[in-house]
Symmetry: C2
Subunit: 461 residues, 2 copies
């Protein structure tokens, strides 16, 4: 049955590429209010594709924002495992559009790459999921697993409505595993399974000194300058030598990393030279006592993003500013609780504030970290599927970024989440000239065919 | 002779007010390129006024920017003292113009105040200087001193061409004292002589980390964030407890303040409550071991004015910025040398920089501090003139701000500089609804009449 599906996929490669082209032509930029009609067209395209390949109960399900498209095929029966696959039909804006070699919504093949906004993130991957299901249903009349497909339209704007949508449909979405097909490979040779993400607490500190801006000649030396105070507070957030965060209690709930995970991570080479080359820094830096791989994924961080207020134009102005602010975020790891970290941060910052100014701390955003047990059978089945399709065992690492829907899926559906994908680091995701390496698009379809089969063979689902 | 002049001034008060009105109607905003014709009209007005009252060798003297107007009367003879008086005919912009009760260039009397841009800073005071000279020349046919009048057009844009103009005319401008009539009283009851100003070194620190902005999820924990580094450097510039500047060598050349000056300053009441009321801070702050008056005038300071770079918009963005900068100025006191302080600052900042980033330090501006011996006879003569006109002995204090022309006049002309004026702290100088308290305008004319007489009586000029 798996072989029939694989043969079908190979025979229909051109048709799948053309279907992807149609999908990519729809400029479904979720952040643009003027793209409302295009968002609907993209949702309609997904729903039509689901119906065409034989999914059932297909619906374009409204939310407070852009709709979620849902479809399912439950013909494998109650004893077969059920897989929920997540993807998104929305894309990032295309600015600066003048840097694109071919127009972002006119899919163009150059060499072995297909160029278009969304080619890699995430329409190409959604298409691979659809093509794999089509291959089974058309060639064998059935899938080895029950399949539930969730394709949302707000991933690029932080999925504000997805968790509520899932929460309202817990029973309908019940499954044995969730596959998020929206990431990429470590490098062209090595597939990657992300088995976790960092969370976040995004804070703003506001220091108010005088009621209005003052002349630093008249009042310099008589009142504390809010910027002078603010930098003293900010400098006490992180140790300059160890790069450890100095907020009391910050590390209390950080889950120790087991040795097996550390060993898996250590297999992924990441050297000082790699980081220098990737970023252009004179010398990398990070938390004392951890490897580069661990610093970027397993350890929490603290970054200042900007310090608004005062005079920032060219030249000089001798203002003693009334107000200074700082935007600071912390990437969090299991089992840090974002709300608790925000509270520890606020308390510590307020404890550092002198009584010569007024200090306020605001929470701008919270997101939970996640970690998935890489030993879970549904995860190990994906490792074998990637091996089968790409000829190499995948690397395992947690992602350094933040994807709150992982923790939402884990909590709401009580199922392991597998985060993988067929993009490459050089795909220019979110940038001009986004593209997908077409051999990986086809291998991605095959990988998913393998996965549907391997998941069904997995004992103990 | 002095009485004749005083009588003349009283009799011609209305004419002097009307002349001031004509002067104020010219919108001579030096910073606006489109005001070139108005700048010339104002210079012409000053030159005409000089000629009308009987000054000689009057000229509109070109510079690389706006011209300087010069006139003199040397009829007192070589044994009489020579006084050089400085003022300026340019004014500040009027924005936000909608906050003016009457149009800024339509002089309007309301109660005892005359409202117009430049009424206090500095056209009203230039007019007082002219009216005092006119009163002597018209009523007595002569002045008790030789008078040299320098009225420039670039004070509000930092006098970029004045020092060179003076340097080229050292012999012609030779004098026994320089009077800068461009400041104000301590309060409506108390005249003020400023016998010094603070200098300045204005610096910019630039920290470059990665070659471009990075995603803090992908690279957070692997490279130093330029803002995290910058705040650690900035926090080491000033002690958070003593508020002393921590740059090695910073205080080495600070001249000890003599006890007589401290005692004079101590007579000017300035309490915590005054500062709180003037600024709106929860609590004033300043350098340990000094009084409020000393902190604001005799002691050097360090202020951060702004920290450009990164993300400063509303909301959140998780950028790991490529670059962070800081604008920092230090107010300096005698005998700190601005160039040396800039060098000490640069060396110290570079010594604090880790090798994970590139740190550059730029000097944006330097200005020398100044101090005038308040015991100088020309200064003491002004104290008596103020007493005679205002019925109260003046306070003596150095100004906290920066006026580099004082040091320039001192060095180039080797004469004591007297900085005083007839404005009031509430005159809205540089702000909407600038005005002058008319009784002070008339008392200012009388003060200058007294001063011309008292300076001539002064032994040992």
């Amino acid at each position: 049955m798996r072989d029939l599906a694989l043969s079908y996929a190979r025979e229909h490669a051109q048709a799948h590429l053309e279907a992807l082209g149609d999908f990519l032509r729809i400029p479904s930029v979720s952040t643009l209010p003027e793209a409302a009609a295009d968002m609907h067209a993209a949702a309609q395209w997904v729903a039509d594709a689901m119906r065409r390949i034989g999914l059932e109960a297909v619906e374009i399900s409204p939310t407070a924002g852009h709709p979620v498209v849902y479809g399912q095929w439950l013909g494998a029966g109650p004893t077969a495992p059920t897989l929920l696959v997540y993807g998104h039909y929305d894309v990032q804006p295309v600015d600066p559009v003048e840097l694109w070699t071919s127009p972002p919504f006119e899919p163009t093949v150059r060499g072995e790459e297909l160029y278009a906004r969304g080619a890699s993130d995430d329409k190409g991957q959604v298409m691979a999921v659809l093509a794999a299901a089509e291959s089974y249903l058309a060639a064998a009349g059935r899938l080895p697993v029950n399949l539930k497909l969730v394709v949302e339209g707000e991933e690029e704007i932080s999925s504000p409505n997805l968790a509520a949508w899932v929460a309202e449909r817990r029973e309908r979405l019940a499954c044995d595993a969730v596959l998020i097909c929206d990431s990429g490979m470590l490098n062209p040779q090595t597939p990657l399974i992300n088995h976790g993400t960092r969370g976040m607490a995004y804070m703003e500190i506001e220091v108010q000194g005088p009621a209005g801006d003052l002349h630093s000649g008249t009042f310099g030396g008589l009142v504390d300058n809010p910027f002078n105070v603010l930098v003293r507070i900010l400098a006490q957030l992180q140790d300059g030598r160890t790069r450890r965060v100095l907020i009391p209690g910050f590390y209390d709930r950080v889950r120790p990393v087991d040795e097996e995970e550390r060993a898996l991570l250590a297999r992924i080479p990441l050297t000082e030279d790699d980081i220098r080359r990737l970023t252009g820094v004179p010398k990398p830096a990070g938390e004392e006592g951890f490897t580069w791989g661990e610093r970027g994924t397993l350890r929490p961080t603290l970054d200042i993003h900007g310090i608004p207020g005062g005079f920032t134009g060219p030249g000089k102005k001798t203002v003693l500013p009334a107000r200074a602010a700082a935007k600071v975020s912390m990437r969090l790891v299991p089992d840090q609780d974002p709300a608790e970290i925000a509270e520890l941060f606020s308390r510590y910052v307020r404890s550092l504030a002198p009584d010569t100014v007024t200090v306020q701390v605001h929470t701008l955003g919270l997101a939970r970290p996640s970690v998935i047990d890489f030993r879970a059978p549904a995860v190990q089945a994906m490792a074998r599927a990637l091996q089968a399709a790409f000829g190499a065992a995948p690397a395992f690492m947690r992602g350094g970024g933040t994807l709150p829907i992982i923790a939402d899926f884990q909590d709401l559906l009580r199922a392991p989440v597998i985060l993988t994908g067929f993009g490459l680091p050089g795909d220019n995701v979110h940038a001009p000239n986004e593209h997908i390496y077409l051999p990986n698009f086809y291998r991605g379809i095959e990988c998913l065919i393998h996965y549907y089969a391997l998941l069904a063979e997995q004992p103990g689902q």
